[in-house]
Amino acid sequence: MSKVLMKGNEALGEGALIAGCRSYFGYPITPSSEIAEYMAKKLPKLGGAFVQAESEVSAINMVYGASSAGKRVMTASSGPGISLKQEGISFLAEGELPSVIVNISRGGPGLGGIQPAQSDYFQATRGGGHGDYHIMVLAPASVQDMMDFAIEGFELADRYRIPVMLMAEGTLGQMMEPIIVREPVTDFYDKSWATTGCKGREPNIINTLHLPQDEIENRNIYLANKYKEIKANEKRAETFMTEDAELVVVAFGLMFRIVKRAVIEARKQGVKVGLIRPITLWPFPDEHIKKAAETAKRFLSIEISMGQMVEDIRLAVNGKVPVDFYGRIGMTPNPEEITQQLLLVAEKEGA
């Protein structure tokens, strides 16, 4: 294990290589482009495949092809590019093709801006493409997470035969931090379903077409059961000072780190505040929220958006206590600004 200073996007690329990813297909977009650049530099030396596709639509379908062959494969983009990839993501989900898709997110809608944002939360967690499907979504909060979640993302993708999205704000892609370089995980995953040529077996077919009505329904029931299994096994969250908290703040990714400092400051000023960080955005860690709602008087969702995750929190709280929202977009709120908000909300509650 060695400690190195790395940029978030590069740590993510290195994590993918450590996980055994040897194919990358992408299209440049700020603030994700360093991932493609990193893979373009490294993959040829490792005997891997790198193609700069003509579009995000093509890139995600190149991912489809490589994943069909059973390879560990990744693509990365940012909001507008992820929108273009949604068609392919729907096909990957239905074809049960393991893959890692990275969204180094920026503000939208439209071209939006290139400042960090979390406003692709709905798109990431609600499917985004057509049909009844989910993908797993992990939200890193540090450059270390960028590497660790890339490794973990490939494991989860193979374990459940599902596309896994890593969604990180542009800041995390662009910032540098010292990290520990991880060891690869070497679990074996059966890929006898892959299309690699039918020598010595019956032909394999990767297909997403189901014309008979019972077939399409059974297929969707099958997928729904898989999603239930993932919900039962893979909800992840980190909690901070929630045990006696009267005000529970929920924040993910970069926002979690900023809010953590604000929580420490507000505690110094006598506010009983705690913090929950969803690590998996889908499946959403609703049990952590429910548990905190047993003792908390009020929740506050803080997001770099106009309010998206707040809906998942409200669903989990189910009317038991009020859920407030505070968010900015374009501007990332700083700890002082958040501290002020915590004091304001606490005052409202009389905490």
Partner: protein, 246 residues
Amino acid sequence: MKIVAKRPESLTETRYHYCPGCTHGIIHRVVAECMDELNIREQTIGICPVGCAVMAYKYFNCDMIEAAHGRAPAIATGLKRTQPDNVIFTYQGDGDLASIGMAEIVHASARGENITVVFVNNAIYGMTGGQMAPTTLLGQVTSTSPYGRKIEQEGYPIRMAELLAQNEGSSYISRVAVNKPANVAKAKKSLKKAFNNQINKKGFSMVEILSTCPTNWGMNPLDALEWLEDKMIPYYPLGEFKVKED
């Protein structure tokens, strides 16, 4: 008794769903015969389109992938770059390849992807019910060009073989037809060349095959074969448009 013709091993026993008089069945057969004769069935991966051949994965007796509309060349790229020893072919119609998948096919050709593209051109959208395709001829009546295709309204039909032959990355580009036995034999020869090209790692190959759609053309099968000869071939001339020298 000497067997002179049998079902190719590279086709399954599944009965085709194609309309009477449609030439997809002939094209499937010659593709399969090429695979048999080149002994590549066990290393081949086929990629099906969206459109009439959407269920081709049921007919070819090799590993198969069903693609989204137009995306087969991108899927083929991802496959071939990670599995260079497999033989990869895409099977695409004109709506799939020349309309929604125009970017994918042009760039796969420009990159010189070492794949084989079977491009079935019947000048109309078949599966969706006879709408205008990029290859629909001038004056041709379809459900979305009900007064006949006009230059000022819909522009000109696209000649894909000529277009892709311009790309340096294209190695072998031809246009054939399957309207009569002599042409079917030429089509097979061309397809075999396209597969051999890939086996010999020469790069991108496409065979455009003029095909019939009696149902959506509103003709009986025999008239459709004549229409192909009389109307399509004059606008879409047969021949080899690119044969890259070694």
